[in-house]
Amino acid sequence: MIVPENPRPIIEARNVGKRFGNFQALNDVTATFYEGQVTAIIGPSGSGKSTFLRTLNRLEKHDSGTIVVDGITLDDDLRHLDAIRREVGMVFQNFNLFSHLTILKNVSLAPLRVRKMSRADAEARALTLLERVGLKDQAHKYPVQLSGGQQQRVAIARALAMDPKVLLFDEPTSALDPEMVNEVLAVMRELAHTGITMLVVTHEMGFAREVADRLIFFDLGVILEDTTPENFFLNPNHDRAKAFLSQVKHGY
Protein backbone atom coordinates (compact mmCIF):
# COMPACT_ATOMS: atom_id res chain seq x y z
CA MET A 1 0.00 0.00 0.00
CA ILE A 2 1.23 3.47 -0.84
CA VAL A 3 1.26 5.86 2.12
CA PRO A 4 2.25 9.47 1.46
CA GLU A 5 4.24 11.60 3.88
CA ASN A 6 2.12 13.13 6.67
CA PRO A 7 -0.82 10.92 5.76
CA ARG A 8 -4.32 11.96 6.66
CA PRO A 9 -6.77 9.20 5.74
CA ILE A 10 -9.87 10.53 3.96
CA ILE A 11 -11.56 7.30 2.89
CA GLU A 12 -11.24 4.07 4.85
CA ALA A 13 -12.91 0.97 3.46
CA ARG A 14 -12.70 -2.12 5.64
CA ASN A 15 -13.79 -5.60 4.53
CA VAL A 16 -16.36 -4.18 2.13
CA GLY A 17 -18.59 -6.78 0.50
CA LYS A 18 -21.32 -6.43 -2.08
CA ARG A 19 -23.33 -9.01 -3.95
CA PHE A 20 -25.86 -8.70 -6.76
CA GLY A 21 -28.04 -11.79 -6.43
CA ASN A 22 -25.63 -14.71 -6.71
CA PHE A 23 -22.79 -12.60 -8.07
CA GLN A 24 -20.20 -11.53 -5.52
CA ALA A 25 -19.18 -8.13 -6.92
CA LEU A 26 -16.92 -7.15 -4.01
CA ASN A 27 -15.27 -9.56 -1.62
CA ASP A 28 -13.69 -8.23 1.56
CA VAL A 29 -12.16 -5.15 0.00
CA THR A 30 -9.95 -3.13 2.34
CA ALA A 31 -8.22 0.08 1.32
CA THR A 32 -7.34 3.44 2.82
CA PHE A 33 -7.08 6.55 0.70
CA TYR A 34 -5.16 9.60 1.83
CA GLU A 35 -5.76 13.29 1.31
CA GLY A 36 -4.25 14.59 -1.91
CA GLN A 37 -3.61 11.13 -3.32
CA VAL A 38 -4.47 10.37 -6.95
CA THR A 39 -5.38 6.71 -7.28
CA ALA A 40 -6.03 4.93 -10.55
CA ILE A 41 -8.25 1.88 -10.27
CA ILE A 42 -7.96 -0.55 -13.15
CA GLY A 43 -9.02 -4.08 -13.93
CA PRO A 44 -11.05 -6.16 -16.36
CA SER A 45 -14.80 -5.61 -16.90
CA GLY A 46 -16.90 -7.01 -14.10
CA SER A 47 -13.97 -7.00 -11.69
CA GLY A 48 -15.82 -4.78 -9.23
CA LYS A 49 -13.83 -1.58 -9.70
CA SER A 50 -16.84 0.59 -10.62
CA THR A 51 -18.99 -1.06 -7.96
CA PHE A 52 -16.31 -0.27 -5.37
CA LEU A 53 -16.24 3.38 -6.45
CA ARG A 54 -20.03 3.57 -6.31
CA THR A 55 -20.18 2.18 -2.77
CA LEU A 56 -18.00 5.07 -1.59
CA ASN A 57 -20.87 7.56 -2.00
CA ARG A 58 -23.55 4.93 -1.56
CA LEU A 59 -24.88 4.85 -5.10
CA GLU A 60 -24.52 1.16 -4.30
CA LYS A 61 -25.19 0.07 -0.74
CA HIS A 62 -22.48 -2.25 0.60
CA ASP A 63 -23.68 -5.44 2.28
CA SER A 64 -20.86 -5.90 4.75
CA GLY A 65 -17.83 -4.11 6.13
CA THR A 66 -17.45 -0.43 6.98
CA ILE A 67 -16.72 2.68 4.97
CA VAL A 68 -15.63 5.87 6.72
CA VAL A 69 -15.34 9.08 4.70
CA ASP A 70 -13.66 12.06 6.34
CA GLY A 71 -14.53 10.69 9.77
CA ILE A 72 -18.18 10.00 8.93
CA THR A 73 -19.42 6.42 8.81
CA LEU A 74 -21.43 5.57 5.71
CA ASP A 75 -24.61 3.88 6.93
CA ASP A 76 -28.39 4.15 6.72
CA ASP A 77 -28.39 7.48 8.57
CA LEU A 78 -29.49 10.02 5.95
CA ARG A 79 -27.63 12.87 7.69
CA HIS A 80 -24.38 10.95 7.36
CA LEU A 81 -25.12 10.28 3.72
CA ASP A 82 -25.91 13.93 2.99
CA ALA A 83 -22.74 15.06 4.78
CA ILE A 84 -20.63 12.59 2.80
CA ARG A 85 -22.18 13.43 -0.55
CA ARG A 86 -21.36 17.08 0.06
CA GLU A 87 -17.68 16.15 0.40
CA VAL A 88 -17.50 13.60 -2.39
CA GLY A 89 -18.04 14.60 -6.02
CA MET A 90 -18.60 12.15 -8.83
CA VAL A 91 -18.03 12.16 -12.57
CA PHE A 92 -19.85 9.49 -14.56
CA GLN A 93 -19.05 7.55 -17.69
CA ASN A 94 -22.15 8.94 -19.44
CA PHE A 95 -21.73 12.49 -18.07
CA ASN A 96 -25.34 12.54 -16.77
CA LEU A 97 -25.67 16.30 -17.22
CA PHE A 98 -29.19 17.50 -16.48
CA SER A 99 -30.56 17.63 -20.00
CA HIS A 100 -33.30 20.20 -19.28
CA LEU A 101 -30.92 22.77 -17.79
CA THR A 102 -28.33 25.03 -19.40
CA ILE A 103 -24.66 24.41 -18.73
CA LEU A 104 -24.61 27.30 -16.27
CA LYS A 105 -27.61 25.94 -14.37
CA ASN A 106 -26.15 22.42 -14.37
CA VAL A 107 -23.09 23.72 -12.57
CA SER A 108 -24.89 26.13 -10.22
CA LEU A 109 -27.82 23.89 -9.18
CA ALA A 110 -26.17 21.98 -6.32
CA PRO A 111 -24.48 25.00 -4.66
CA LEU A 112 -27.82 26.81 -4.91
CA ARG A 113 -29.87 24.00 -3.39
CA VAL A 114 -27.44 22.16 -1.12
CA ARG A 115 -25.07 24.92 -0.02
CA LYS A 116 -27.90 27.49 -0.05
CA MET A 117 -25.76 29.98 -1.98
CA SER A 118 -27.45 32.99 -3.56
CA ARG A 119 -28.17 32.64 -7.27
CA ALA A 120 -25.72 35.42 -8.15
CA ASP A 121 -22.90 33.81 -6.13
CA ALA A 122 -23.61 30.32 -7.42
CA GLU A 123 -23.64 31.48 -11.04
CA ALA A 124 -20.53 33.61 -10.65
CA ARG A 125 -18.74 30.61 -9.19
CA ALA A 126 -20.09 28.36 -11.94
CA LEU A 127 -18.68 30.75 -14.57
CA THR A 128 -15.27 30.68 -12.88
CA LEU A 129 -15.27 26.88 -12.93
CA LEU A 130 -16.44 26.77 -16.54
CA GLU A 131 -13.60 29.11 -17.44
CA ARG A 132 -11.23 26.71 -15.73
CA VAL A 133 -12.39 23.83 -17.93
CA GLY A 134 -12.37 26.13 -20.97
CA LEU A 135 -16.13 26.31 -21.55
CA LYS A 136 -17.17 29.73 -20.30
CA ASP A 137 -18.49 30.68 -23.74
CA GLN A 138 -20.85 27.66 -23.75
CA ALA A 139 -22.55 28.58 -20.47
CA HIS A 140 -25.95 29.30 -22.00
CA LYS A 141 -26.18 26.24 -24.22
CA TYR A 142 -27.87 22.97 -23.37
CA PRO A 143 -25.91 19.74 -22.84
CA VAL A 144 -27.18 18.23 -26.10
CA GLN A 145 -25.54 21.08 -28.03
CA LEU A 146 -22.07 20.15 -26.72
CA SER A 147 -19.67 17.43 -27.80
CA GLY A 148 -19.02 14.47 -25.50
CA GLY A 149 -15.66 15.84 -24.37
CA GLN A 150 -17.20 19.22 -23.61
CA GLN A 151 -20.04 17.57 -21.68
CA GLN A 152 -17.60 15.63 -19.56
CA ARG A 153 -15.64 18.79 -18.80
CA VAL A 154 -18.91 20.43 -17.70
CA ALA A 155 -19.59 17.39 -15.52
CA ILE A 156 -16.20 17.89 -13.86
CA ALA A 157 -16.98 21.58 -13.28
CA ARG A 158 -20.36 20.57 -11.84
CA ALA A 159 -18.70 18.20 -9.37
CA LEU A 160 -16.12 20.86 -8.44
CA ALA A 161 -18.84 23.42 -7.75
CA MET A 162 -19.62 21.66 -4.47
CA ASP A 163 -15.99 22.10 -3.43
CA PRO A 164 -15.55 18.41 -2.68
CA LYS A 165 -12.59 16.96 -0.80
CA VAL A 166 -12.71 13.83 -2.94
CA LEU A 167 -13.55 13.37 -6.61
CA LEU A 168 -14.63 9.97 -7.91
CA PHE A 169 -14.27 9.33 -11.64
CA ASP A 170 -16.14 6.34 -13.03
CA GLU A 171 -14.52 5.61 -16.42
CA PRO A 172 -14.69 9.29 -17.41
CA THR A 173 -13.33 8.80 -20.93
CA SER A 174 -14.87 5.45 -21.87
CA ALA A 175 -17.90 6.91 -23.65
CA LEU A 176 -15.89 9.46 -25.63
CA ASP A 177 -14.70 9.55 -29.21
CA PRO A 178 -10.93 8.98 -29.26
CA GLU A 179 -10.38 12.57 -30.39
CA MET A 180 -12.06 13.94 -27.27
CA VAL A 181 -10.31 11.83 -24.68
CA ASN A 182 -7.32 14.14 -24.40
CA GLU A 183 -9.24 17.31 -23.62
CA VAL A 184 -10.86 15.54 -20.63
CA LEU A 185 -7.58 14.00 -19.48
CA ALA A 186 -5.95 17.43 -19.69
CA VAL A 187 -8.52 18.84 -17.26
CA MET A 188 -8.06 15.86 -14.94
CA ARG A 189 -4.29 16.18 -15.09
CA GLU A 190 -4.55 19.83 -14.14
CA LEU A 191 -6.86 18.89 -11.24
CA ALA A 192 -4.49 16.21 -9.97
CA HIS A 193 -1.87 18.89 -9.38
CA THR A 194 -4.20 21.01 -7.22
CA GLY A 195 -4.05 18.59 -4.30
CA ILE A 196 -7.61 17.28 -4.46
CA THR A 197 -8.04 13.59 -3.64
CA MET A 198 -8.94 11.65 -6.78
CA LEU A 199 -10.05 8.06 -7.35
CA VAL A 200 -10.16 7.29 -11.04
CA VAL A 201 -11.59 4.09 -12.49
CA THR A 202 -10.08 4.09 -15.95
CA HIS A 203 -8.86 2.15 -18.94
CA GLU A 204 -6.41 4.92 -19.87
CA MET A 205 -3.14 3.24 -18.95
CA GLY A 206 -1.10 6.21 -20.12
CA PHE A 207 -3.01 8.50 -17.80
CA ALA A 208 -2.73 6.05 -14.89
CA ARG A 209 0.98 5.77 -15.37
CA GLU A 210 1.68 9.44 -15.78
CA VAL A 211 -0.69 11.10 -13.31
CA ALA A 212 -1.55 8.61 -10.55
CA ASP A 213 0.42 8.31 -7.30
CA ARG A 214 -1.03 4.90 -6.67
CA LEU A 215 -2.52 2.11 -8.70
CA ILE A 216 -5.04 -0.50 -7.63
CA PHE A 217 -5.75 -3.56 -9.75
CA PHE A 218 -9.10 -5.31 -9.23
CA ASP A 219 -10.06 -8.79 -10.28
CA LEU A 220 -13.09 -10.89 -9.30
CA GLY A 221 -14.12 -8.46 -6.57
CA VAL A 222 -10.80 -8.31 -4.75
CA ILE A 223 -7.80 -5.99 -4.86
CA LEU A 224 -4.97 -7.99 -6.41
CA GLU A 225 -2.36 -5.26 -6.56
CA ASP A 226 -2.02 -2.02 -4.65
CA THR A 227 1.22 -0.33 -5.57
CA THR A 228 2.80 2.53 -7.51
CA PRO A 229 2.01 2.76 -11.23
CA GLU A 230 5.69 2.24 -12.06
CA ASN A 231 5.86 -0.96 -10.06
CA PHE A 232 2.67 -2.23 -11.56
CA PHE A 233 3.61 -1.63 -15.15
CA LEU A 234 7.20 -2.84 -14.86
CA ASN A 235 6.80 -5.91 -12.68
CA PRO A 236 3.28 -6.92 -11.68
CA ASN A 237 3.11 -9.61 -8.98
CA HIS A 238 0.11 -11.60 -10.16
CA ASP A 239 -0.35 -13.62 -13.33
CA ARG A 240 -3.80 -12.10 -13.78
CA ALA A 241 -2.27 -8.63 -13.78
CA LYS A 242 0.39 -9.71 -16.25
CA ALA A 243 -2.25 -11.16 -18.57
CA PHE A 244 -4.31 -7.96 -18.27
CA LEU A 245 -1.30 -5.80 -19.03
CA SER A 246 -0.29 -7.83 -22.06
CA GLN A 247 -3.79 -7.29 -23.44
CA VAL A 248 -3.95 -3.53 -22.86
CA LYS A 249 -0.30 -2.62 -23.16
CA HIS A 250 0.20 -2.78 -26.90
CA GLY A 251 0.41 0.79 -28.07
CA TYR A 252 2.38 1.97 -25.07
Partner: protein, 254 residues
Protein backbone atom coordinates in the same frame (compact mmCIF):
# COMPACT_ATOMS: atom_id res chain seq x y z
CA UNK B 1 -45.33 26.28 -37.67
CA UNK B 2 -41.64 27.11 -37.59
CA UNK B 3 -42.35 30.48 -36.08
CA UNK B 4 -44.58 28.96 -33.41
CA UNK B 5 -41.84 26.43 -32.55
CA UNK B 6 -39.27 29.14 -32.10
CA UNK B 7 -41.44 31.43 -30.04
CA UNK B 8 -43.43 29.19 -27.67
CA UNK B 9 -43.68 32.03 -25.17
CA UNK B 10 -45.47 34.26 -27.68
CA UNK B 11 -47.70 31.38 -28.78
CA UNK B 12 -48.75 30.80 -25.19
CA UNK B 13 -49.32 34.49 -24.62
CA UNK B 14 -51.24 34.76 -27.88
CA UNK B 15 -53.55 31.84 -27.24
CA UNK B 16 -54.21 33.04 -23.68
CA UNK B 17 -55.12 36.51 -24.88
CA UNK B 18 -57.18 35.00 -27.70
CA UNK B 19 -59.07 32.80 -25.27
CA UNK B 20 -59.79 35.70 -22.89
CA UNK B 21 -60.85 38.04 -25.70
CA UNK B 22 -63.11 35.35 -27.08
CA UNK B 23 -64.70 34.63 -23.70
CA UNK B 24 -65.38 38.25 -22.86
CA UNK B 25 -66.10 39.57 -26.32
CA UNK B 26 -68.05 36.80 -27.99
CA UNK B 27 -71.44 38.23 -26.91
CA UNK B 28 -70.90 41.27 -29.16
CA UNK B 29 -70.65 39.57 -32.58
CA UNK B 30 -73.11 36.88 -31.50
CA UNK B 31 -75.74 39.47 -30.63
CA UNK B 32 -75.73 40.59 -34.30
CA UNK B 33 -76.77 37.10 -35.34
CA UNK B 34 -80.46 36.52 -36.22
CA UNK B 35 -82.88 34.86 -33.80
CA UNK B 36 -82.72 32.46 -32.02
CA UNK B 37 -79.02 33.22 -31.30
CA UNK B 38 -78.77 37.02 -31.29
CA UNK B 39 -81.26 37.91 -28.57
CA UNK B 40 -79.73 35.48 -26.07
CA UNK B 41 -76.06 35.95 -27.01
CA UNK B 42 -75.11 36.76 -23.42
CA UNK B 43 -76.35 33.31 -22.35
CA UNK B 44 -73.92 31.67 -24.77
CA UNK B 45 -71.09 33.81 -23.40
CA UNK B 46 -72.00 32.90 -19.81
CA UNK B 47 -72.16 29.23 -20.71
CA UNK B 48 -68.74 29.32 -22.42
CA UNK B 49 -67.23 31.05 -19.39
CA UNK B 50 -68.70 28.36 -17.08
CA UNK B 51 -67.28 25.62 -19.31
CA UNK B 52 -63.83 27.21 -19.30
CA UNK B 53 -63.88 27.78 -15.54
CA UNK B 54 -64.92 24.17 -14.96
CA UNK B 55 -62.13 22.95 -17.26
CA UNK B 56 -59.45 25.13 -15.67
CA UNK B 57 -60.40 24.32 -12.07
CA UNK B 58 -60.91 20.58 -12.58
CA UNK B 59 -57.88 20.43 -14.88
CA UNK B 60 -55.52 22.11 -12.39
CA UNK B 61 -56.65 19.93 -9.49
CA UNK B 62 -56.48 16.94 -11.82
CA UNK B 63 -52.82 17.62 -12.67
CA UNK B 64 -51.92 17.83 -8.97
CA UNK B 65 -53.87 14.62 -8.29
CA UNK B 66 -52.15 12.95 -11.24
CA UNK B 67 -48.67 13.88 -10.00
CA UNK B 68 -49.44 12.72 -6.45
CA UNK B 69 -51.07 9.45 -7.50
CA UNK B 70 -48.42 8.87 -10.20
CA UNK B 71 -45.74 9.19 -7.53
CA UNK B 72 -47.77 7.00 -5.19
CA UNK B 73 -47.93 4.27 -7.81
CA UNK B 74 -44.12 4.28 -7.97
CA UNK B 75 -43.74 4.28 -4.19
CA UNK B 76 -42.03 1.37 -2.44
CA UNK B 77 -44.61 1.67 0.34
CA UNK B 78 -47.12 -1.02 -0.64
CA UNK B 79 -50.34 0.30 0.96
CA UNK B 80 -49.85 3.64 -0.80
CA UNK B 81 -49.34 1.88 -4.12
CA UNK B 82 -52.47 -0.17 -3.57
CA UNK B 83 -54.45 2.96 -2.72
CA UNK B 84 -53.33 4.69 -5.93
CA UNK B 85 -53.94 1.57 -8.02
CA UNK B 86 -57.43 1.33 -6.53
CA UNK B 87 -58.13 5.00 -7.29
CA UNK B 88 -57.13 4.67 -10.94
CA UNK B 89 -58.97 1.38 -11.33
CA UNK B 90 -62.15 2.82 -9.80
CA UNK B 91 -62.21 6.11 -11.75
CA UNK B 92 -61.32 4.57 -15.11
CA UNK B 93 -63.69 1.66 -14.69
CA UNK B 94 -66.89 3.61 -14.01
CA UNK B 95 -68.77 6.11 -16.21
CA UNK B 96 -68.02 9.80 -15.71
CA UNK B 97 -71.73 10.60 -15.61
CA UNK B 98 -72.17 8.17 -12.71
CA UNK B 99 -69.25 9.80 -10.89
CA UNK B 100 -70.77 13.27 -11.32
CA UNK B 101 -74.17 12.11 -10.09
CA UNK B 102 -72.55 10.23 -7.21
CA UNK B 103 -70.64 13.28 -5.96
CA UNK B 104 -73.66 15.54 -6.42
CA UNK B 105 -76.06 13.25 -4.54
CA UNK B 106 -73.78 11.89 -1.79
CA UNK B 107 -71.73 14.96 -0.80
CA UNK B 108 -74.68 16.79 0.80
CA UNK B 109 -75.45 13.61 2.78
CA UNK B 110 -71.87 13.08 3.96
CA UNK B 111 -71.00 16.70 4.78
CA UNK B 112 -72.54 18.49 7.79
CA UNK B 113 -75.49 20.76 6.98
CA UNK B 114 -73.47 23.91 7.65
CA UNK B 115 -71.36 23.27 4.54
CA UNK B 116 -73.17 23.94 1.28
CA UNK B 117 -71.58 22.61 -1.89
CA UNK B 118 -72.76 24.21 -5.11
CA UNK B 119 -73.66 22.16 -8.19
CA UNK B 120 -70.69 23.72 -9.93
CA UNK B 121 -68.31 22.58 -7.14
CA UNK B 122 -69.72 19.04 -7.28
CA UNK B 123 -69.10 18.90 -11.02
CA UNK B 124 -65.58 20.27 -10.56
CA UNK B 125 -64.76 17.69 -7.88
CA UNK B 126 -66.04 14.77 -9.94
CA UNK B 127 -64.26 15.95 -13.10
CA UNK B 128 -61.01 16.55 -11.20
CA UNK B 129 -61.11 13.06 -9.66
CA UNK B 130 -61.82 11.54 -13.06
CA UNK B 131 -59.14 13.34 -15.07
CA UNK B 132 -56.70 12.88 -12.16
CA UNK B 133 -56.91 9.11 -12.65
CA UNK B 134 -56.10 9.41 -16.36
CA UNK B 135 -53.29 11.88 -15.59
CA UNK B 136 -51.82 9.42 -13.10
CA UNK B 137 -50.83 7.01 -15.86
CA UNK B 138 -49.31 9.80 -17.98
CA UNK B 139 -47.26 11.11 -15.07
CA UNK B 140 -46.10 7.62 -14.12
CA UNK B 141 -44.96 6.93 -17.68
CA UNK B 142 -43.17 10.31 -17.73
CA UNK B 143 -41.31 9.62 -14.49
CA UNK B 144 -40.28 6.15 -15.66
CA UNK B 145 -38.89 7.71 -18.83
CA UNK B 146 -36.32 9.82 -16.93
CA UNK B 147 -32.94 8.03 -17.19
CA UNK B 148 -31.70 6.73 -13.86
CA UNK B 149 -28.35 8.42 -14.38
CA UNK B 150 -30.06 11.79 -13.93
CA UNK B 151 -31.22 10.78 -10.46
CA UNK B 152 -27.80 9.35 -9.58
CA UNK B 153 -26.08 12.56 -10.66
CA UNK B 154 -28.44 14.68 -8.55
CA UNK B 155 -28.09 12.44 -5.50
CA UNK B 156 -24.31 12.28 -5.87
CA UNK B 157 -24.25 16.11 -5.81
CA UNK B 158 -25.99 16.02 -2.44
CA UNK B 159 -29.51 17.00 -3.52
CA UNK B 160 -32.17 15.50 -1.25
CA UNK B 161 -34.73 13.07 -2.70
CA UNK B 162 -37.31 15.87 -2.71
CA UNK B 163 -34.95 18.36 -4.42
CA UNK B 164 -33.99 15.67 -6.93
CA UNK B 165 -37.64 15.16 -7.74
CA UNK B 166 -38.56 18.85 -8.02
CA UNK B 167 -35.44 20.06 -9.86
CA UNK B 168 -34.61 17.11 -12.07
CA UNK B 169 -37.19 14.32 -12.31
CA UNK B 170 -40.42 16.32 -12.51
CA UNK B 171 -39.33 18.79 -15.22
CA UNK B 172 -37.86 16.01 -17.33
CA UNK B 173 -40.86 13.73 -16.88
CA UNK B 174 -43.14 16.53 -18.03
CA UNK B 175 -41.55 16.49 -21.48
CA UNK B 176 -42.89 12.98 -21.90
CA UNK B 177 -46.11 13.39 -19.94
CA UNK B 178 -47.20 16.73 -21.36
CA UNK B 179 -48.61 15.68 -24.73
CA UNK B 180 -50.79 13.09 -22.99
CA UNK B 181 -51.79 15.54 -20.26
CA UNK B 182 -52.71 18.07 -22.95
CA UNK B 183 -54.85 15.46 -24.63
CA UNK B 184 -56.68 14.81 -21.36
CA UNK B 185 -57.20 18.56 -20.92
CA UNK B 186 -58.75 18.88 -24.37
CA UNK B 187 -61.07 15.96 -23.54
CA UNK B 188 -61.99 17.70 -20.32
CA UNK B 189 -63.33 20.73 -22.24
CA UNK B 190 -65.82 18.36 -23.84
CA UNK B 191 -66.40 16.08 -20.85
CA UNK B 192 -67.38 19.07 -18.75
CA UNK B 193 -70.62 19.11 -20.77
CA UNK B 194 -71.81 16.17 -18.64
CA UNK B 195 -72.19 18.65 -15.79
CA UNK B 196 -75.46 19.65 -17.46
CA UNK B 197 -76.97 16.50 -15.86
CA UNK B 198 -76.69 18.11 -12.43
CA UNK B 199 -78.07 21.42 -13.69
CA UNK B 200 -74.79 23.33 -13.97
CA UNK B 201 -75.42 26.08 -16.50
CA UNK B 202 -72.51 25.47 -18.83
CA UNK B 203 -72.38 25.66 -22.62
CA UNK B 204 -74.32 22.51 -23.45
CA UNK B 205 -77.03 23.33 -20.93
CA UNK B 206 -77.40 26.80 -22.49
CA UNK B 207 -77.83 25.22 -25.90
CA UNK B 208 -80.38 22.79 -24.61
CA UNK B 209 -82.43 25.55 -22.97
CA UNK B 210 -82.28 27.94 -25.94
CA UNK B 211 -83.41 25.29 -28.43
CA UNK B 212 -86.17 24.17 -26.06
CA UNK B 213 -87.61 27.69 -26.15
CA UNK B 214 -87.02 28.43 -29.83
CA UNK B 215 -87.65 24.98 -31.33
CA UNK B 216 -84.63 25.56 -33.60
CA UNK B 217 -82.00 22.97 -32.61
CA UNK B 218 -79.94 23.23 -35.81
CA UNK B 219 -78.60 26.82 -35.57
CA UNK B 220 -78.36 26.60 -31.79
CA UNK B 221 -76.34 23.39 -31.62
CA UNK B 222 -74.17 24.42 -34.57
CA UNK B 223 -73.26 27.58 -32.66
CA UNK B 224 -72.52 25.56 -29.52
CA UNK B 225 -70.34 23.15 -31.51
CA UNK B 226 -68.43 26.08 -33.04
CA UNK B 227 -67.77 27.55 -29.61
CA UNK B 228 -66.50 24.18 -28.32
CA UNK B 229 -64.19 23.92 -31.34
CA UNK B 230 -62.73 27.36 -30.68
CA UNK B 231 -62.20 26.47 -27.00
CA UNK B 232 -60.48 23.13 -27.68
CA UNK B 233 -58.30 24.77 -30.36
CA UNK B 234 -57.21 27.43 -27.89
CA UNK B 235 -56.39 24.79 -25.27
CA UNK B 236 -54.39 22.61 -27.66
CA UNK B 237 -52.46 25.66 -28.95
CA UNK B 238 -51.68 26.59 -25.38
CA UNK B 239 -50.46 23.12 -24.44
CA UNK B 240 -48.44 22.54 -27.60
CA UNK B 241 -46.69 25.87 -26.99
CA UNK B 242 -45.96 24.74 -23.44
CA UNK B 243 -44.59 21.51 -24.89
CA UNK B 244 -42.17 23.43 -27.13
CA UNK B 245 -41.14 25.50 -24.15
CA UNK B 246 -40.23 22.37 -22.17
CA UNK B 247 -38.52 20.76 -25.14
CA UNK B 248 -35.52 23.08 -25.04
CA UNK B 249 -33.01 20.55 -23.70
CA UNK B 250 -33.63 18.22 -26.59
CA UNK B 251 -33.28 20.80 -29.33
CA UNK B 252 -30.19 20.74 -31.44
CA UNK B 253 -28.29 23.95 -32.06
CA UNK B 254 -30.54 26.72 -33.33
Amino acid sequence: MNWSRQHPGWMMFGSMVGLLLFLWGMAIPLSLAPAPIGPVAHLFADGARATVMLTLIAGSIGVVLGVLAGLGKLSTFLPLRWLCDFYVWLMRGTPLLLQILFVWLTLPQILPDSIQVSDFACAAIALALNIGAYNTECVRAGILAVPHGQVEAARALGLSPFQTFMDVVLPQSMRVALPALANNMASLVKDSSLAYAISVVELTMVGYRVQAESYQPIPVFLTIAAIYLILTTAFTTLTSALENQLDVGRKRAE
